[in-house]
């Protein structure tokens, strides 16, 4: 599911089955050195979350990405988002990011950190296989949380 009108309608009707929210976290870096890196990391993350959506459409809701800069106190924002999503009725909330600073910034949240792979120059079929490989890293993390309760 995506955070769009039609899917949210389904979510409201099927809350017992759609219980997981995934929030992509993307850093916006405007410096000349960091710009390209941050853009391609965002590209990678968007492709990856869309792929996760395809595989787990009936259980996860992919939220619009949370974008921030390094000068923001990002932890406060994310805690507000976390509370809001719990209020909405999600039992599991995951954050996916390529920004390594999150692993230490918010240890109590389920942050899935994946090193970014530049997809920009890749062929469609290569992209597909790279993303499938990455998905294989994500699935165990999701299913271990799901089977906790």
């Amino acid at each position: 599911m995506f955070w769009i009108g039609k899917d949210v309608e389904v979510f409201s009707a099927q809350k017992e089955f759609i219980d997981t929210a995934i929030v992509p976290l993307t850093v916006i870096d405007g410096s000349p050195i960091g710009m390209k890196q941050s853009a391609s990391a965002a590209e990678f993350l968007m492709s990856l979350t869309a792929f996760v959506e395809q595989q787990f459409k009936g259980r996860v809701m992919i939220m619009p990405p949370f974008s921030y800069t390094n000068s923001m106190v990002k932890k406060d924002y994310i805690q507000a988002i976390d509370e809001e999503l719990k209020l909405a009725g999600f039992k599991y909330i995951f954050y996916m990011t390529s920004d390594h600073s999150w692993t230490s910034a918010a240890p109590e949240l389920s942050v899935l950190w994946l090193p970014s792979i530049p997809l920009g120059d890749m062929d469609q079929s290569v992209k597909q296989s790279v993303l499938s490989d990455q998905i294989r890293q994500v699935v165990p993390m999701l299913s271990s949380k799901w089977s906790e309760l």
């Binding site: 389904v10 089955f17 259980r59």
Partner: protein, 167 residues
């Protein structure tokens, strides 16, 4: 000179009718075109998509076959890669849609080691038999959809989905 000479009045009548007719046609044509437009429109998604899978290499075990088609979402065009689970039943090629009939996750062949020879949906543990029939007691309420299939030069072509015809 012929006997029936064209009078000035007749000449004017002919030319005016002619020119008027052209003008009327010029206005009517686009209107008619708009009215019949839905009939002339090309059907999208009705075409078969060629895959890289050789039909001769298919076996009784379902394999994943990827195929790509163009999808238009408002003004945004994108190539969408979709998959099908394809196997042979005798000489017949069967292609099943991997979309779970419960809430639309992607099912995998033998995705759960505990249940061999079944399709498994990782989201809520839905299971299907090899022919796509949903197993009672698991969340899905209907069988997996089937793709129309064709063969071209030994390669598999995948068409539209249709309700399962095997169950």
């Amino acid at each position: 000179m012929s006997n029936n000479r064209v009078t000035r009045r007749q000449f004017l009548n002919y030319t005016l009718t002619g020119v008027g007719g052209f003008m009327a046609a010029g206005m009517l044509m686009p209107m008619v075109r708009f009215a019949v437009d839905p009939v002339l429109q090309k059907k999208e998604g009705g075409d078969f998509v060629l895959t890289k899978q050789k039909v001769s290499e298919l076996t009784k075990t379902p394999v994943k076959v990827d195929f790509t088609f163009e999808q238009v979402d408002a003004w945004y065009k994108s190539d969408v890669t979709s998959t099908a689970w394809v196997y042979k039943e005798g000489d017949k090629v069967i292609a099943l849609s991997p979309v779970c009939k419960h809430l639309g996750c992607t099912v995998n062949w033998e995705g759960d080691p505990a249940h061999k020879n079944q399709f498994f949906c990782p989201c809520h543990g839905g299971r299907y038999e090899k022919n796509g029939e949903n197993i009672k007691g698991t969340p899905p309420l209907g069988p997996l959809d089937e793709f129309e299939v064709k063969e071209k030069d030994g390669l598999l072509m995948i068409g539209k989905t249709r309700p399962n015809t095997l169950v």
